[in-house]
């Protein structure tokens, strides 16, 4: 009896130790890309707002096909970090190294503006929390999806329209509504349209700021399903900023937890959520409402 408990306890302790060791080992493995170098290598990224810290000393690697989640409470620097990555904000210090299609490594922050814009409409995509920020509300759904194509030089109306219709179908919008303006769409449809508009040029990196924010739960679930399918199918790499732990549980392979502008914990999503180490992460995980 006593032996049994001991054994069980030993086994348990041993399991926990080996699992933790496994996780530590695993987080060092260079992602699903195997030997390939990371797609995005961020180091020392810092942005201050006067005396306040937006984000400080943030660094991570993102491999091809990998989805990185960033969670934290409001004001923890998630959106600042994402805006710095996307080039919407100029960071005070740090590097964002990007491996382009030719395998060259470029520092996104020192790129010229035309190069950055080109990158932003070809290889990168940005999904805003509010679809109104990411869509042209006065332009038809087809025009919205086609804009990126036309911006990189597509000049064949028939082909642009066919591609737009195809993408509307892929994000579960009836292609018959291709000429409707987005303000006639529901919130969930607008968000899906924004995603179609971003993915039409087959980007390699998608930055998402609260992609499911402001949507009701059933619509959220369908959107997450769709995103998960697209990420897998297209082999996208993505950085998803959210305060919704369920979203990262579903989407993200790895997770960073931010507090007061700093990364307090990082690791595999399941590892961080099931076995949080930092007191703040423990608080965050225990704060999730159970239905």
């Amino acid at each position: 009896m006593t032996d049994g408990t001991d054994i069980r306890r030993n086994d348990g302790a041993g399991d926990a130790k080996s699992f933790k060791g496994f996780c530590q080992e695993f987080s060092k493995i260079p992602g699903p890309g195997g030997e390939a170098p990371p797609l995005l290598r961020v180091s020392g990224l810092t942005r201050r707002y006067g005396a306040c810290i937006g984000c400080a000393e943030v660094g991570f690697d993102l491999w091809p096909g990998e989805v990185m989640g960033i969670v934290g409470e409001s004001g923890s620097g998630k959106s600042t970090l994402l805006a710095c990555l996307a080039g919407h904000l100029a960071p005070d210090a740090g590097q964002v190294l990007w491996r382009d299609r030719d395998g060259r490594t470029r520092d996104v922050l020192t790129m010229s503006e035309p190069e950055r814009r080109m990158l932003a409409r070809t290889d990168w995509a940005f999904v805003h929390q509010n679809p109104r920020d990411g869509l042209r509300m006065g332009v038809s759904a087809g025009g919205n999806v086609g804009e990126r194509l036309m911006a990189v030089g597509a000049r064949h109306y028939g082909r642009i329209r066919a591609t737009a219709a195809d993408w509307l179908g892929r994000v579960e919008i009836d292609p018959g509504r291709i000429d409707d303006a987005p303000h006639r769409f529901s919130g969930g449809m607008q968000q899906r349209l924004q995603i179609a508009r971003n993915l039409v040029t087959h980007p390699r990196l998608v930055l998402m700021d609260e992609p499911t924010g402001g949507l009701d739960v059933s619509v959220q679930a369908r959107l997450l399903d769709l995103l998960r399918g697209l990420v897998r199918e297209m082999g996208l790499s993505a950085v998803v900023v959210t305060h919704d732990l369920a979203v990262v549980r579903l989407l993200a392979h790895r997770l960073m937890v931010m507090k007061d502008g700093r990364v307090v914990e990082a690791g595999l999503t399941d590892q961080v959520l099931d076995d949080p180490q930092h007191p703040y992460t423990q608080l965050l995980v225990s704060s999730v409402l159970q239905v």
Partner: protein, 290 residues
């Protein structure tokens, strides 16, 4: 009345202002299609009546010049007549209605039918020089878009036209791309005139007085109208001959002749039409009548 009697500096504007405008013009010619800001002056006419064009004409005029002014192609409308007499008075220069005789032609919304030569300057009156204005209201942003040649949005507008109407319906101020670089609003000329911009022998200057912008096309500049491969640009005109001179290749005005729906199409370029009639050409309404 001579210029000295009129009490004005030659061509109304003071010399410093003309020099400032010429500097802006030189820059505009050096960067075809680029909108150069200039310190537009108050002119003795309201904005929208050609204050920009008048200032460019004043800066370009020399005492030996012969000036022609047209308004929608016509030499005999209020605006054309008054601008012509204005410069006859303040510059003492000769004026004409014949395109071939003019050295400077100020125009509102047309390019003459008679081909222009290298010895002529065409000055356009421009209401809104910014082709992206109604797509992007912020001037700071449109200037950045021009700087980065970020013209996808312009194409989106043409896409919307085809999606809604089945064709590009833009009939005037049809956007063009200059030397493969800047997208330019050619002022509200009918799109029928767009092909005349391409590799034109004459220097073309565009002045927007209220908006304080000058842009220019040096002679022989490549100018392409924006379009799609499967919806190519077409210069459109009413499918009728001129009722007065019978021309089938000129741009036509539709004139309502009575309250019973009667109408006729006549050449918008009055000098061209009169020249053809003088040469013996007749249209449907002049064959029997005159």
């Amino acid at each position: 009345m001579t210029v000295q009697d009129s009490g004005y500096t030659f061509a109304y504007l003071d010399e410093a202002t003309k020099r400032m405008i010429r500097r802006a013009l030189l820059k505009a010619v050096a960067i075809p299609g680029y909108q150069v800001p200039f310190a537009s002056r108050e002119m003795p006419m309201p904005y929208g009546w050609g204050t920009g064009g008048v200032q460019l004409t004043a800066a370009c005029l020399t005492p030996g010049d012969v000036l022609k002014v047209i308004d929608q192609g016509a030499d005999d409308t209020t605006n054309a007549v008054s601008i012509r007499s204005f410069f006859a008075r303040v510059a003492g220069i000769a004026t004409t209605e014949a395109t071939a005789e003019a050295t400077i032609i100020q125009t509102r919304h047309r390019i003459p039918e008679t081909p222009l030569t290298e010895d002529q300057i065409l000055v356009f009156q421009v209401p809104i020089p910014e082709p992206l204005r109604f797509l992007e209201p912020r001037e700071t942003e449109t200037r950045r878009m021009h700087a980065l040649a970020d013209y996808g949005l312009m194409q989106v507008r043409l896409y919307e036209d085809i999606a809604r109407h089945g064709a590009i319906t833009r009939a005037y101020a049809y956007p063009v791309r200059v030397e493969g670089r800047y997208v330019m609003d050619p002022s509200p000329i009918p799109r029928f005139d767009n092909p005349k911009l391409d590799r034109s022998a004459a220097l073309m200057l565009f002045g927007a007085g209220r908006e304080q912008r000058i842009h220019a096309l040096p002679p022989w500049t490549r100018v392409e109208s924006l379009d799609f491969e499967d919806y190519p640009f077409e210069a459109s005109r009413p499918d009728a001959p001129c009722a007065l001179c019978g021309a089938t290749d000129s741009y036509l005005d539709e004139v309502i002749t009575d309250d019973a729906g009667g109408r006729m199409f006549v050449c918008s370029d009055t000098d061209h039409c009169a020249g053809r009639r003088a040469a013996g050409h007749r249209g449907a309404s002049t064959e029997t009548g005159a």
